[in-house]
Symmetry: C2
Subunit: 375 residues, 2 copies
Amino acid sequence: MQSSRPPAEIGMPLHEVDTPALLVDLDAFERNLQRLAQHAAHAGVALRPHAKTHKSPAIALQQIASGAVGVCCQKVSEAAAMVDGGVGDVLISNEIVGRQKIARLAALAHRARIAVCVDDRENVAALSEAAQAEKVTLDVLVEIDVGANRCGVSPGEPALELARHITGAAGLRFRGLQAYHGSAQHLRSGEQRRAAIDGAVLRARQTRDLLHHHGIQCRVISGAGTGTYPLEAASGVYNELQAGSYLFMDASYARNRSDDGSPFAEFQHSLFVYTTVMSRAAEQRAVVDAGMKALSVDSGLPTVWGIEAAEYVGASDEHGTLNLATAARSIRLGDQLRLVPGHCDPTVNLHDWYVGIRGDRVETLWPITARGPGF
Amino acid sequence: MQSSRPPAEIGMPLHEVDTPALLVDLDAFERNLQRLAQHAAHAGVALRPHAKTHKSPAIALQQIASGAVGVCCQKVSEAAAMVDGGVGDVLISNEIVGRQKIARLAALAHRARIAVCVDDRENVAALSEAAQAEKVTLDVLVEIDVGANRCGVSPGEPALELARHITGAAGLRFRGLQAYHGSAQHLRSGEQRRAAIDGAVLRARQTRDLLHHHGIQCRVISGAGTGTYPLEAASGVYNELQAGSYLFMDASYARNRSDDGSPFAEFQHSLFVYTTVMSRAAEQRAVVDAGMKALSVDSGLPTVWGIEAAEYVGASDEHGTLNLATAARSIRLGDQLRLVPGHCDPTVNLHDWYVGIRGDRVETLWPITARGPGF
């Protein structure tokens, strides 16, 4: 398709990259990659980064080479793209419902170790049937709702009941608990995040202990995101971290604060939308060629990297409008700028390629093969 | 790429379509298509629908077969996809800035009639140079800012000055004025939209008359969108309509009201995101498999088609959370629902295929070849 032409060539200077393009600053990216890997290793917990952020096996393989045990995905289509790209261990940290999806999921287990989450008995039966039909074994985690109020059964007895059901189902192997607290990730103060994760840890521990008491081993308690992973890593309960955004960061995560109120700065911005000034018809305004079809505005507008006097104030479909204070009025038609997207995951989903840059030179191009609505 | 597999096969019953999928109800779509074509014909103005909405030459060719003179695009990549798909006349209703983009634009003019907008003298020089290098002629419109405060020079003298510049530039042919009032489209009352378009018509008329007075013919005055097109069509000034969303409608346009306060109902919803209930772990809650990677929430959350007691209350990346009032609690795991997206254009941009249905059967699949950030 038309959109699959990359916006750059390897070796090109940055200023020749066509816009809008999704840039990865490789130095910052590699520092982020190593930093979380080291944190997990130091804490003695497994790292299974979430591939829903980057949607690219080229990146997943680097995470695994740095010590990750595998990746998470949210969709069967994402998992298939990862397995096609050489990833050998995928946890779908989500429920998979529907005959076709479950059949594709089971078929993947011929080529990789596949695990999936459940919160419903009928779904367990459907997974068991598909696994038997394919003559494979699927690992299954019970998802418990630890405060996000989205998917997952209640902690305690409902989780025990579902786990028992799994242990009795042919073709399935109970692996443990999925206990991700999504809505805690962007709580802005360290105190708020600690309170939320304390609650999640309590629910996960009680559920684990209840299952152990009934002779059901939870080998894995998986969860955590970029906003809270130090808490889960230190909890003594979680033994697998699922952070994803740490690789890239975004303007929303940059608004999180540490316990002492300082910016939450473990990771650096490595992901940018590269854009061109395409209209300069009014003195105080520049219009750039990156709007909602090049970046997601669900978690706020992007910021203009390195130019405080330029504020991105409005996104329309194909345009971004910048207000220029006096200090930024030297911006000219044709100038190229970097934007820090408000939210990395859905921004990545709009693009087909990463343009990896080292300094001002294009070093690599990674295709975003798991992009799409996700069947 | 993985994502290019379609979510359905032709002939399939609707309930077998994989989710999330972008459905087009062909009966409603065809009524919308004919309705605007008839309005334009009756008003004696040309129709040049905006392909930024649908991004699919398969649809553009149907618009042209129904009387449209060609289509609009916002990006060179969109125009290339249209020309590749057999469209012979494209207006890029936007400024194109940057050496590579302009070179590709000029090359397209070997294969189709191509027009583009400008709001800057340097940009005119760059277009002229590229047109001469390719030995083609590009039609050029001066974009004037008629109230949207985005791109475009001020009406009157600045437009005259730029038009003079174009008439003197080799390889370029001045065609007229681009005078689209984007921010008027979603003003909710008929009175507000009328006031905004009255202002736009005044500015376009005065600019046209000024150019005519100086011997420069404006053959085309182009603009209008789904929210305001009857006003431009009746203005006696605009002679080309650029509406796009009329084909599909969306939840945001559905909130527009007519002069008498009744719903703005010329067009029917024909675009839906088809989704599966993937979690039903709490009585008052259903989670569906369509979140921000399957629909755009920039103009509000989607509505659930035909089920008033189910309200889509939260979108995360891959999930949508529905609150279920008592009357909707019979919704079960695995049920498939239709969502009306808040905003059609950026929602379409997330998908690779339209699944065209007639009643409950898949009749056609149209690829969305102009999808993407848009170089």
